[in-house]
């Protein structure tokens, strides 16, 4: 008998759900398994060549990037989180959600924008030259397209990860703990560093590891700035040297870094649970900052918001208006159509698979099913470049096998059925973004307690009717959120799309990349702006949940 509640005893024989969920999880794990499998394949001279020449650069540059982003996101994220959660100053309520806005800005887009703003011909240097009468070579100006430049760009758009988790941790801290520190003779600064910060540390580390995963996954920024890292190395080895095995091995090495970060994140989240000292939100008495100190706080919060969102978004809008007449042609709208269609298809597929996994876990909560669901959700940490390599290798192999067999048997060439088609691209999106949908669907399903199913059943509803009358209305919000999040993530995705897209099939993100590569930064603005605007949607969702939790606090 089908019940919607988790009534099946663990240890029962594997049912259809277990088999289905396991099969899906293995399929989704395929790219990662393929990449790791290449660790066993000798890549020969190319690998030796890489190891002797550029490999050290990849490692050193990646480490510098990570170190720089760590410093940048910690200062920006923790500092602003503490100010908005613990202090009162002008604009605090606004900053509480506005500080998330830079999340809408993909790193490669902010990098292109600042390059346009700050390079020799850009408005900033031109203005300076105009004021002071300088000529070429008369003055020193920091070079944006450099490793430090990449650190700043990435920090500006990634600090919100740290901000979000740190803010939640500060709000979750028992105020009594802070008060105890004050009564024991510690001033506010000392209390922050000796009590509040250590208590929030696990949450902060979790946020930081997310930011670092994004740093390692970034391709657009480092490629444009000419910083050699793993992702650019994978591209170069794949296309430039044409060596599959070496590219896959670089990808595996990158996965090693990512794996360490996942471990760090998991451990921190586990610790964070123990560090949550208060059960419910207390009314927070925010420390008022007046006069100059209030203005300083305002400035500290305004800086990342302005640099990370307001200025680049404003510049993009200005450029977009400038070039609107020449760029917004049929070709542009075709791009929009491609992007929207692709993102919508991926979102719907991800939602369906997430529902399948979520219900599999609910109906047969065996250890096997749970492990399979976790594996299916691991892709969120895997860089798009790595997934692309892991998809194209097995898909290409299957295509070649089918083609050879068809030619031998029927004298018919089937060509590429999977690789180089939208199938490969959609599969890669699912591997990477299924976790986003899965998490949302799981949260939604968690709110439908088993007793609600049972209530409905004992009130005379069949299982199908329970789905329609209880589950669907209760899940509607989560389903919409899942669709939206995957949709936007796909819209922003660059490296996997670059590698896997069918020949001559362009999306907004790819077009932005191509125009930027041609130094036509202003022409790229309309497409870039469209991506940023779409990216605002999930940010608005997040900030709404922040505002709601604030209203839920007793006053």
């Amino acid at each position: 008998m089908l019940t919607l509640a988790a009534t099946e005893s663990p240890g029962a024989r594997p049912g259809p759900w277990t088999l289905g969920v396991t099969a899906l999880a293995l399929t989704l794990a395929l790219p990662v398994l393929v990449v790791l499998g290449f660790l066993l394949v000798p890549a020969g001279e190319v690998w030796e060549h890489l190891a002797a020449t550029v490999l050290q650069d990849y490692v050193v540059n990646s480490l510098w990037l990570m170190l720089g982003v760590t410093v940048g996101t910690l200062i920006g994220g923790v500092g602003t989180a503490w100010l908005v959660s613990m202090c009162r100053f002008p604009g605090r309520g606004l900053f509480e959600w506005a500080l998330l806005l830079p999340m809408a800005m993909p790193a490669y887009i902010i990098a292109y924008t600042y390059t346009g703003l700050l390079d020799f011909a850009g408005p900033v240097q031109s203005t300076l030259r105009g004021w002071f009468g300088w000529g070429y070579g008369d003055y020193w100006f920091p070079e944006v397209r450099s490793l430090p430049g990449a650190v700043v760009m990435l920090s500006l758009v990634l600090y919100p990860y740290v901000y979000l988790l740190a803010r939640a941790a500060f709000l979750g801290q028992s105020l009594c703990v802070l008060d105890v520190s004050r009564t024991l003779g510690n001033g506010p600064w000392r209390t922050f560093f000796t009590v509040a910060l250590p208590l929030a540390r696990p949450a902060i580390v979790a946020g930081l590891s997310l930011a670092l995963m994004e740093t390692l996954a970034d391709y657009g920024t480092v490629q444009f700035f000419g910083v050699a890292t793993f992702t650019t190395g994978i591209f170069r080895t794949w296309y430039g040297l044409g060596n599959t095995a070496a590219a896959a091995q670089l990808a595996a090495l990158l996965l090693g870094f990512i794996f360490l970060l996942i471990l760090l994140e998991r451990l921190s989240r586990r610790q964070a649970r123990y560090h949550q000292t208060s059960q419910r939100h207390q009314a927070i008495r925010r420390h008022p900052l007046t006069g100059g100190r209030g203005l300083a706080a305002l400035g500290f919060c305004l800086l990342p918001l302005a640099l990370g969102f307001l200025i680049p978004a404003g510049q993009l809008a200005a450029w977009a208006l400038e070039v609107a007449g020449s760029v917004l042609d049929d070709a542009f709208w075709r791009l929009v159509g491609h992007s929207l269609g692709l993102a919508a298809t991926a979102a719907v597929l991800a939602l369906l698979l997430a529902l399948f996994l979520g219900y599999g876990q609910r109906l047969q909560p065996t250890r096997g099913v749970k492990a399979a669901v976790r594996i299916a959700g691991l892709g969120y940490a895997v860089p798009g470049t790595v997934i692309a390599v892991g998809v194209i290798i097995p898909f290409g192999w299957v295509d070649n096998q089918v083609d050879a067999w068809m030619r031998a048997s029927f004298d018919l060439s089937t060509g590429l059925l999977l690789s180089g088609t939208l199938v490969a691209l959609l599969f890669a999106y699912l591997v990477r973004f299924l976790a986003v949908a899965l998490q949302t669907v799981e949260t939604g399903l968690g709110k439908i307690r088993p007793t609600m199913d049972e209530s409905a059943r004992s009130l005379g509803l069949s299982p199908g009717t329970v789905l329609r009358r209880v589950h669907l209305p209760m899940l509607r919000g989560s389903l919409f959120t899942a669709l939206l999040l995957v949709f936007v993530d796909v819209l922003k995705e660059l490296p996997a799309t670059l590698i896997l897209r069918p020949f001559n099939f362009n999306t907004l993100a790819v077009r932005v990349y191509e125009l930027a590569a041609d130094e036509r930064l202003a022409d790229a603005a309309p497409a870039a702006l469209a991506i940023v605007l779409a990216g605002l949607a999930p940010v608005i969702l997040l900030s709404r949940s922040i505002t709601r939790s604030r209203h839920a606090q007793p006053h």
């Binding site: 509640a5 009534t7 005893s9 049972e454 409905a456 004992s458 209305p473």
Partner: protein, 394 residues
């Protein structure tokens, strides 16, 4: 707490509970089930198992129309599992369940919950957060027309004292109010039986008894047949007509609260219900037992053979404070209860007993006071060793 089995089961099948329930109330014999099918709920010989592990074994229980029953027992005793088997959420491994004369589980049949007409109130209430209070209550009333449905919802809101709250949403209600709506929702389709799974466990302790009485009144007014599952005996006393004490997957005794307190069928029930101590003694004859408190005599036969080593149940209200008495004992502890003190008293033998005294008798710890034993019948059990050696059969 251990559930002692004082006597080996004489026969298989329902025999396991026979020894315990036989003394007080005979339920269903094998041949009795035919006669009892007129009852609103008849559970006969039901066992439930999870993955081969038995949770409930060979349980018999029945309720007449309009009765409120209770499954009372410590956590893990199988009471909730039995309730869920009645609702249709757990399949029975053996035995049968009849609801209003209709077989709903057993003999290869397992009706799904929606076909059983058994309403259920859950521990967490399980109100649907996306529906208003009125639509929650109307959830199981799809078969009614719009007008009838609204009338029934209004009637139930009135019945549970929440008239006018129909437009609210569950999250706007207090815990007690949510509980009343959950009750109204389960009662709305007029189920053949109402199942309440620890419905007061999330309430403050002071509120529970009062709520239990209120719910009882609501159920009686509606004429509902209901079973309550709880581990709280005060809740059970306040609400139920018939209480089944469960432990280790078996029913030890069925009876009213009064019966369970004054005539417990075995050691487990004696321990679990009310307060009291077991003091050792030796059976003299059919009425009398020799103890540290002297020779205790009941007005009825206690059922143990002369010479048996026995344990006698002494409730705090069996011991009376009497300054005139020659039986002097030492106060070793006392708990102030408002109207009374509960004294712990040490006999010269070292045995400690409990005594309930009106609180104007204020005696300090270490003081010696006089007491008198006032039992009208002796509740005595053979010690486990005596039971094993077969001396207990009387």
């Amino acid at each position: 707490m251990q559930s002692p089995s004082p006597q080996p089961s004489p026969a298989g099948g329902e025999g396991g509970t026979e020894s315990a329930t036989g003394a007080v109330e005979t339920l269903l014999g094998r041949e009795g089930s035919e006669r009892k099918l007129g009852g609103q709920l008849v559970i006969s010989g039901v066992s439930v198992a999870y993955g081969g592990v038995p949770i409930v074994t060979g349980v018999d229980f029945s309720l007449d129309r309009g009765d409120i029953g209770c499954l009372l027992g410590p956590s893990g005793c199988g009471k909730t599992t039995l309730l869920r088997a009645v609702a249709g959420f757990e399949p029975v491994a053996s035995g049968e369940i009849h609801l209003q004369g209709r077989l709903v589980a057993g003999a290869g049949l397992n009706l799904p919950p929606e076909a059983r007409r058994a309403g259920m109130v859950f521990q967490d209430f399980a109100l649907f957060p996306h529906l208003s209070v009125a639509r929650n209550i109307a959830f199981g009333l799809r078969h009614l027309g719009r007008g009838e449905r609204q009338a029934r919802v209004a009637e139930l809101l009135d019945l549970v004292g929440m008239a006018g709250a129909g437009a609210k949403y569950p999250h706007q209600l207090s815990g007690g109010q949510q509980q009343r709506i959950a009750l109204a929702r389960a009662m709305a389709p007029r189920p053949d039986i109402l199942l309440l799974d620890e419905p007061f466990s999330s309430m403050d302790a002071e509120l529970r008894e009062q709520l239990a009485r209120e719910v009882r009144e609501v159920l009686k007014r509606e004429g509902s047949t209901a079973i309550l599952v709880t581990h709280d005996q005060h809740e059970a006393f306040a609400m139920a007509d018939r209480i089944a004490v469960m432990a280790g997957g078996r029913i030890h005794q069925v009876g009213s609260g009064f019966d369970l307190y004054h005539e417990p069928a075995d050691r487990f029930v004696a321990d679990f219900i009310g307060q009291g101590v077991m003091i050792p003694g030796r059976v003299v004859d059919e009425w009398r037992i020799d103890t540290d408190l002297g020779l205790l005599a009941g007005t009825r036969s206690h059922g143990l053979a002369p010479g048996t080593r026995a344990e006698i149940l002494l409730r705090p209200d069996d011991i009376l404070h009497d300054d005139e008495s020659s039986l002097q004992v030492e106060v070793v502890n006392r708990a102030f209860r408002g109207a009374e003190y509960l004294y712990s008293l040490r006999l010269t033998s070292g045995q400690v007993i409990l005594c309930l005294v009106q609180s104007h008798h204020n005696h300090g710890i270490g003081e010696r006071i006089g007491i008198r034993v006032a039992v009208d019948h002796l509740v005595a059990f053979a010690t486990p060793e005596a039971a094993r050696s077969g001396l207990a059969s009387g």
